[in-house]
Amino acid sequence: MTQASHVGPVPDLPGNVVLAARDVKKHFKGRRGLGRRHGTVYAVDGVTFELNEGETFGLVGESGCGKSTLARLLVGLYAPTAGTILLHGEVVNAAGAGQRLRGRLQMVFQDPAGSLDPRRRVVDSVAEPLIGSRARKERRAAAVEMLERVGLKAELGDRYPHQLSGGQQQRACIARALVADPAIVVLDEALSSLDVSLQAQMMSLLRDLQAEFRSTYVFITHDLATAFELSTRIAIMYLGDIVELLPADAFRQGTLHPYSRALVEAVLVPDPAVQRGRKLIQLSGDVPSASLPPPGCRFHTRCPYAQERCSHDRPPLVQHRAEHWVACHFAGALPPRAEPPTSGSL
C-alpha cells in the first residue's frame, strides 16, 4: 500500500465486483474569463474503489468535494481526465460504449421535476431506457409493471409530471432507473429534497427493490445520517479525494480521519439530551478552492491535528482495519475521541 493512487481498496467481501474505478481523475480546464484567468479545477483527483454486486456504496461529502462529478464519471456522462472505470471489465467511457452500456448505468437526480420530460407522459419517460432493446408494446408493459412496483398506479403513469406530487415524481424516476435491470444505479442526492417522512418511505422502497433485483446502488449525499441508514459501505470525500472508506457497521467503532470525525460531530442528533452542551470540533476556515488545492494532505489547512509533514506529503489511502481505509498519516495515533482534549463529552 505504498501508493494509494494505484493500489485500491479491494474489498474482501465474497461478492462479485461490478464496477472498478482506478485512480480516476477529472480536471476541468481553466478558461479565460472576463479579464480573469481561471485555473484548472481538480474536481476528482485520484479516486480508487470497487463496487460489489448488491451493495449500497454511500458517497458522502460537503458541497464542492467532487461527489457529483464522480457520479457523472461513473455513469459515463463525463470522460475521466486520467484513470479508468470498468463495468464488468469493460471501460465505461471507451468510444461507442455509451450505446452498449445504455441502461446498464442509471442515475436518479436530486430534482425529480427537472429530470422528467414535462411534455411526455410519465410512463413514456419510464419506458425510455428500454428503447433499442424491446418492442414498443413490451416497453410500455414493463414500464407499467415497474411503476406499480414503486407504488404508482397505472393511471398515474398516464399523467404528465406536473400532475404528480414530488414524491410520486421521485418514485417515477426510481422506476425509470430500474426498468432496464441496470448493473448500477447512482442516486445523486436523490432523497435530499424530500421531507423526512417521504425520505423514510423512499429508503424502505429502495431497500425492497434492492433485495428483489439485487441492484447495486451508489448513494451520493451530503447527509451522513441517511447514508448511514441506507449504505453497506461509506466513502467520505474531501476536495476530490476519498479520505476514508469503511463499512457502515464499523461506524460505531469510530472513524479515523480527522475530517470524517468533524463531519460525524457536526451531525445533529434529534435528542436534546445528547445535543445540549455538546461542543463541536471547530474546523478553521472554509473548504479551499478546488482550483488551488493545498499541497500535501488536502485537509491539512483545516485539520486540528496537522503536523509539518502534512503540508507536503500527501497521505495515501491505507488499510487500517478490515475493510477500513484511511488517508491520514496519523490515523491510528489520533486521540481516541473525536473531540480535541479541551471540549466536553458527546
Binding site: 406530487s165 448511514f228 460505531r252 435528542d271
Partner: protein, 354 residues
C-alpha cells in the same frame, strides 16, 4: 405556566390564515396558538406544506397575496399587531422583530456592497451618522465571526461563501437589538459542518443579547440543539407542543412519534422500519376531524371528530383524542390540584418547564 415570572413577548391566539386561489381556498394556518416568553426559544417543526412558514409570515404580517390572515390575535410587546397600520408594522419589523431568512444566496442584493446593505438596515430604524453606523456594523460583523470586518464592508455578496453570507444576515438581523429573532430554516442551505457552526453562533447571540427566538425548521436535529420548547405542526395546525426534552423523550402525538422515528440518526438506532405511509391531507378541503387520522396507526372512529388542543400534562399540549385519553390514565406527572384550579380551563397557556 402563568407562574412563569418571565414576561410574555409574543402571544399568538387562534391565528388562522388562508390562501385564496382561483381554484379554491388553502387552509394554511388553522387556529394556531402559542406564547413566547422573553429570552426563551420555540422551535416550530413540520414537513413542507404544514404551514410553519405561513405561520411565521403571518406573525410578521408578510404573508404574500393571495394569502390573508382571516382571524386570531397576535400580541407582541403588549401591542396587537393585526391592528397596526402598515407604517407602524414597518417600524417594528427589522427593529423589534428580525428575520433570518432561509436562503442566504438570494436574501442579499447582489449589486450592493454588504456595508451598504447593513447600513441601510441600521438607518431604517435609527438616526445614525455614517461613522456611527460603520462602527456598529463592524461590531456586529465581528460578533458573528466575520474575520477582519472593517475590510469586508466594500465587498459584494458573491465574494462570500454561503456560511459567511448567513453570518452577514445574522449580523443584519441583530444590528438593531431586536426583542424577537425569527429564523426560517436558517441552516437548510448550508453544509453540515457549517450548519453546526451557524447554529452554535445563533444560540450564543440569542443568549448574550437576551433575545427571544422563534425557529422554523424541518430538521429535528436543529430543534434538539437550539430550542427549549417545540411545536410540531401538521396540516396547518399545531398538533403537539411542549419542552424539547419531554417531547423528544416521549412524544405524545402519533405524528410527532413517527416523525422522530423516521428521522435518520447516527447514534446507533437504525430504525427505518417506522414509515409514515400516505401523504398529508389536501389543505384545499376544510379540516374535518383529526387531520392525521388517515395516516395514523392509532386512529379510531372517534377521530372523525376534531380533537381539541389540550394541556394533558403540565406544560404539554396535544391535539389527539387517543393521547389525551391515554395520558390521563397513564402514570405521568399530573398537574397539582392547586394549580389546575387556578387556571381557566380554556387556557392555551404556554409555560416554560422549570
Amino acid at each position: 405556566m402563568t407562574l412563569d415570572p418571565v414576561p410574555v413577548v409574543l402571544s399568538v391566539r387562534d391565528l388562522t390564515s388562508r390562501f385564496f386561489l382561483p381554484t379554491g381556498v388553502v387552509h394554511a394556518v388553522e387556529r394556531v396558538s402559542f406564547e413566547l416568553h422573553a429570552g426563551r426559544s420555540l422551535g416550530i417543526v413540520g414537513e413542507s406544506g404544514c404551514g410553519k412558514t405561513a405561520t411565521v409570515m403571518s406573525v410578521l404580517r408578510l404573508l404574500p397575496a393571495p394569502g390573508r390572515i382571516v382571524g386570531g390575535h397576535i400580541t407582541f410587546e403588549g401591542r396587537e399587531l393585526l391592528d397596526l397600520s402598515d407604517e407602524e408594522m414597518r417600524r417594528i419589523r427589522g427593529a423589534r422583530i428580525a428575520l433570518i431568512p432561509q436562503n442566504p444566496g438570494s436574501a442579499l442584493n447582489p449589486v450592493l456592497t454588504i456595508g451598504w446593505q447593513l447600513r441601510e438596515a441600521l438607518q431604517a430604524h435609527q438616526e445614525l451618522s455614517r461613522t456611527e453606523a460603520r462602527d456598529r456594523i463592524v461590531e456586529v460583523l465581528d460578533l458573528t465571526g466575520i474575520p477582519d470586518p472593517q475590510h469586508q464592508l466594500d465587498r459584494y455578496p458573491h465574494e462570500f461563501s454561503g456560511g459567511m453570507k448567513q453570518r452577514i444576515l445574522i449580523a443584519m438581523a441583530i444590528a438593531n437589538h431586536p426583542a424577537l429573532l425569527v429564523a426560517d430554516e436558517p441552516t437548510t442551505a448550508l453544509d453540515t459542518t457549517m450548519q453546526a457552526k451557524v447554529l452554535e453562533l445563533m444560540s450564543e447571540l440569542v443568549d448574550s443579547f437576551e433575545m427571544t427566538l422563534m425557529l422554523i425548521t424541518h430538521n429535528m436535529g436543529v430543534v434538539a440543539s437550539v430550542c427549549e420548547r417545540v411545536a410540531v405542526m401538521y396540516a396547518g395546525q399545531i398538533v403537539e407542543m411542549g419542552s424539547a426534552s419531554d417531547l423528544f423523550r416521549a412524544p405524545l402525538h402519533p405524528y410527532s412519534d413517527l416523525l422522530l422515528g423516521s428521522t435518520p440518526r447516527l447514534d446507533g438506532r437504525r430504525s427505518a422500519e417506522r414509515v409514515i405511509e400516505g401523504k398529508p391531507p389536501d389543505l384545499m378541503m376544510a379540516p374535518t376531524g383529526c387531520s392525521f387520522r388517515d395516516r395514523c396507526p392509532l386512529a379510531e372512529p372517534g377521530c372523525a371528530e376534531p380533537p381539541p388542543f389540550l394541556e394533558v400534562v403540565e406544560g404539554r399540549h396535544v391535539r389527539c383524542w387517543v393521547a389525551q385519553r391515554d395520558t390521563s390514565s397513564r402514570d405521568l406527572p399530573r398537574r397539582s390540584p392547586a394549580r389546575s384550579a387556578a387556571e381557566p380551563s380554556t387556557s392555551t397557556d404556554d409555560g416554560e418547564p422549570s
